[in-house]
Each structure stands twice: as structure tokens, then as C-alpha cells.
């Protein structure tokens, strides 16, 4: 399996953009096989599987709750995308938060959404969310600039609903770099990479490939851990995409078994 570990200095990151791998292409046959495997997990509940679960070998963590930590990526990335035009990250962060609040006021936000949470916290907490999102966006900008090439901040993560299986796969992506023969996907994570970090990157690679209109995998998926000063990357080969899909299946199976145990 072809993977690389580097630091996060500009020369390290720039080197990771030099990739000559011909990306693997997911065919209709691959999609059908994936669907067939996931359909064996008959479940009343919809399963959502992502790289985080793969890294935890299918174990689900604590239930999700909005907090300044969980809100910062969504707001920070949206602000970073907007600041390409405005140039002012702080103003962009505040605009994004205001838009969430407006959606709530107009009745367009669903219960449990980020907007609803923001609307119900004290003003000082909203300011802290803005501060955390600003730091996320600034660290992301600094990291992405260090690659030394033009990038596009992703508008959303990659999602793939497996046909007829009640399973949603999510691939995390924060930015993409266009190359002569494809794209390179970058995702940023906090903390230290776990020993299963490569499996997580392969899972993101697989979801990104399956969610692509023509099934073309990214040439490379790069995970950057700015806090640790580490970058890891996986090339978009057939072997890596297959391994990613297998790991997602295993994580879903563990989730499915846990759901059955809880129900019993």
C-alpha cells in the first residue's frame, strides 16, 4: 500500500502535490458489489459510517452534541471559502453565524441544527464559537497556503448513499488541489494521528471515489494534523480504494451488531 508521512513545512507539503498515480475508477459493477455487501446488514435504523468510525474500528463514540469545538469546522470552512472573495476572515465568520441565525428566525432551520443551537446559547458563547471558527479557518488557510499551489475549499464533505442498503458513507474533505490528471483531496484533523489514521484516509478516499459522478478516485488523499506537525497521504490506487471500502464495511458491521445488541 502506497502511503507517505511528512512534516508540515512548506517544502514537505509542496512535495506531496507531486503525484503521478493514475487514479482508480469505480465502475457500475463495483457500486453494485458494494451495495450487495451493505444490503446484508438489514437494519431498521439508517447507518452512517465515516473515517472516524473506521479509525475507531466501528465503535461509536459519545452521541453528537453541538459545542464550540464541533461547530468550528463547519463555520470555519464556510468562512474560509467566502474570504477568498472578501479577504477578511473575521468578518466572514461573523457573517456565516448571522446567516445561521437568520435561517432560524425565518423558520428554515431544522431542530437540532447548528443554527438552532447557536440561537439558543448566550452571546458570549456565540463569540467563542466565532473565535474557535476563526482559529480553525486561519490554521487551515496557513496549512493550505503552505502547499504553494491554488486550492479550492470544499463546499461539503463527500456523501454516498449505498443504494437500497440504508447506509450513508461520509468522506471528510476540507480542500482540493487540481492536478493535470485529476485532483488531490486534503483533510485537516486536530490532535495526533492514531495508529489507524491510514485506514481513515483510505476510507475517505473510497467515499470520495464512490461519490464522484464518474467514479474517479482522487490521485491522493492527504491528511494534515497541524497540531502534531504531521501529514500522511494515501494514493488513489485500486488497492487503497478497495481497502477503504472493506474497512467501511467492517465498521458498518460492528455498528450493526452493536445496534442489535442494544435492541435485544
Amino acid at each position: 500500500m502506497n502511503f507517505t508521512q511528512r512534516g508540515i513545512a512548506p517544502h514537505d507539503l509542496n512535495e506531496l502535490l507531486g503525484v503521478e498515480t493514475t487514479p482508480f475508477c469505480v465502475s457500475d459493477e463495483h457500486r453494485a458489489t458494494l451495495a450487495q455487501r451493505f444490503r446484508t446488514l438489514s437494519s431498521a435504523q439508517r447507518l452512517r459510517v465515516d473515517a472516524w468510525m473506521v479509525e475507531r474500528r466501528g465503535e461509536s463514540g459519545r452521541s453528537f452534541a453541538w459545542s464550540p469545538l464541533t461547530a468550528r469546522r463547519s463555520i470555519g470552512n464556510a468562512a474560509l471559502r467566502r474570504s477568498v472573495f472578501s479577504g477578511d476572515l473575521t468578518a466572514s465568520v461573523n457573517e456565516i453565524i448571522d446567516e445561521h441565525l437568520h435561517r432560524v428566525a425565518r423558520g428554515y432551520a431544522r431542530p437540532g441544527s447548528l443554527g438552532h443551537w447557536l440561537a439558543n446559547v448566550p452571546q458570549a458563547v456565540r463569540a467563542l464559537v466565532a473565535s474557535d471558527a476563526l482559529t480553525w479557518a486561519t490554521v487551515s488557510l496557513e496549512t493550505l497556503d503552505s502547499f504553494g499551489a491554488p486550492f479550492v475549499v470544499a463546499s461539503a464533505d463527500a456523501y454516498y448513499d449505498v443504494a437500497g442498503a440504508r447506509v450513508s458513507l461520509r468522506g471528510r474533505r476540507d480542500a482540493t488541489f487540481a492536478t493535470d490528471s485529476g485532483r488531490i483531496v486534503v483533510r485537516l484533523r486536530t490532535g495526533l494521528p492514531a495508529s489507524t489514521a491510514i485506514a481513515g484516509l483510505r476510507a475517505d478516499l473510497a467515499v470520495d471515489a464512490f461519490s464522484h459522478n464518474h467514479g474517479i478516485a482522487a490521485q491522493r488523499v492527504i491528511g494534515v494534523w497541524p497540531e502534531a506537525g504531521i501529514s500522511l497521504s494515501v494514493d488513489g490506487t485500486e488497492e487503497a480504494v478497495r481497502a477503504g471500502a472493506r474497512d467501511l464495511m467492517r465498521a458498518a458491521l460492528t455498528q450493526h451488531r452493536a445496534a442489535l445488541t442494544n435492541a435485544a
Binding site: 512548506p10 446559547v121 458570549a124 463569540a127 467563542l128 476563526l134 503552505s146 495526533l192 497540531e227 506537525g229
Partner: protein, 256 residues
């Protein structure tokens, strides 16, 4: 190092005149620390990593490191974070507590805060309000172009994970990619002393190992005295930081 009677923003702006100064070499730092760690640990691998933080370098038990002092420091960190997004507060203590509770999970400090009586809470409130005034007056206006980041964490593993350096910098500014380099700023509610100096060197070392590029400056602002320090990071400072680190790891290993 000298105490300077201007705002943090002004001394950082003034520091840009050193922009062309030669940058310290960081390539050999990991190897040097690795060799030092080998002489401390030998070939045996530890089961749990030795964790080193800026607080590991404290040589005396200061008020700032009591639960009260840590609580005050934690609330001041929140005040800084709110200040950096231009949040104007009429109740610095109440706002800092709201922000701190939203960002802090279950912890020893949360238990401490919940257990203090009304008198102690009132004392903490007035203390935080006074320190917040100094913070807002002395930090100055940090322009967005300086790419300010607050509460920046770093975790660097050394010697195959035998040692883990964990750092938390209150404010980082500047950009490696844009060539200006970084500056790291520590806000402390205690006085500026040897402990702060060692903590600043630790910040510079961790940042050099993390980013692969040394920061240009490290700086500290005391909200107790309104003093501001700025130190240029050079080879000598990083060497002292390496010696501090190896010394403290030797002590931590002996105490384990």
C-alpha cells in the same frame, strides 16, 4: 530581554524590522533531542510516554498554579478569545465563565468552580475583571492580516513516542507560508519571571519541532503587572530550550 511599556501589538509590529535576520536552524533539533533522550532512557521503551508541558518547568509553587490561579488564567484565556473577535463585554467575568463552561468538559477546575462559595466567587470575579482591563489595554489591536489564532495547541512526539510534548499557546500570529514567520504570545496572570521565560523557550522549541520552522518571536504579557516581554528566537535560545527539556525529562523520569 527587557520589559517594554507599549502594547503587545506595537512591540510585535516593531519586531518586523528583524524580519531579515537569519533564522535559527531547526533541522538538527530532533536528532539532538533524540540523542539526549537515548542517554536518559537507554534502549528500553517506556510503556507510557513521559508528558512534558510548559507547567513542567515551574521551579516553585506559585499562586498562579493553585486552582484559584488556574481558574483565573482559564477565564482570562476566554477573555482573550472573545477580544480577538471584537466582542465587547459589559460583564467580563460572566462572559468568560459562559465561554469557559461551553468549551470545558468535566474537569478538576469545573469541580473547583462549582464548589467555591459566594465570597470566593466574588473575589474571583473582581480579580478577572481587573486582569481583563489590563489585557484589553495592553494587547492592542492585532490586525486580521496577521492571521491571529487563539488557544493554539501542539502535541509533538519524540523518540518513538517515549516523550510527548504538549503545548498550549494563548495567541499565535504571523504566517510561515507568507514568509513573515510566526510569533507566539503567552498571557499570564502571574508576574513575568524565570518560570515564564522557561515556558516561552518551551513554546519556541515545540513550535520549531511541530512546524519545521522556528518562530520569529516569543512574547509574554502579564495581566498582573501589565509588563510585556518580547524575545527574538535564535540558535542560542533553542539550545537553552533543548537543555531545559532534557533536564526536566531527567527529573520526571527520576520522580516516576
Amino acid at each position: 530581554m527587557a520589559t517594554i511599556d507599549i502594547t503587545m501589538a506595537e512591540i510585535l509590529r516593531d519586531g518586523r524590522r528583524f524580519a531579515d535576520a537569519p533564522r535559527p536552524a531547526v533541522d538538527g533539533l530532533r536528532t539532538q533531542i533524540g540523542d539526549g533522550l537515548f542517554s536518559i532512557f537507554g534502549a528500553t521503551a517506556a510503556h507510557e510516554p513521559v508528558v512534558v508541558r510548559a507547567s513542567s518547568f515551574r521551579t516553585n509553587d506559585l499562586v498562579a498554579y493553585t486552582p484559584y490561579g488556574r481558574m483565573r488564567g482559564a477565564l482570562l484565556t476566554q477573555t482573550l478569545r472573545l477580544h480577538m473577535v471584537n466582542y465587547s463585554s459589559h460583564d467580563p467575568f460572566g462572559d468568560a465563565v459562559a465561554a469557559w463552561r461551553a468549551s470545558e468538559g468535566a474537569s478538576e477546575l469545573v469541580d473547583y468552580f462549582d464548589a467555591i462559595d459566594d465570597d470566593e466567587r466574588a473575589r474571583l470575579a473582581t480579580d478577572v475583571a481587573a486582569h481583563s482591563v489590563v489585557l484589553q489595554q495592553r494587547i492592542g489591536d492585532i490586525p486580521p492580516q496577521w492571521r491571529p489564532r487563539t488557544a493554539v495547541r501542539a502535541r509533538v512526539r519524540l523518540a518513538n513516542g517515549q516523550v510527548e510534548l504538549r503545548d498550549h499557546v494563548d495567541l499565535a500570529i504571523g504566517s510561515i507560508s507568507a514568509g513573515t514567520g510566526n510569533a507566539l504570545v503567552d498571557i499570564t496572570s502571574s508576574v513575568l519571571d524565570d518560570n515564564v521565560e522557561r515556558a516561552l523557550r518551551f513554546h519556541a522549541l515545540v513550535e520549531s519541532l511541530r512546524a519545521g520552522v522556528a518562530p520569529r518571536f516569543i512574547a509574554a504579557l502579564s495581566t498582573a503587572t501589565a509588563d510585556v516581554w518580547r524575545v527574538v528566537v535564535d540558535d542560542e535560545l533553542l539550545q537553552r530550550a533543548v537543555n531545559d527539556l532534557l533536564g526536566v525529562i531527567t527529573q520526571l523520569k527520576a520522580a516516576a
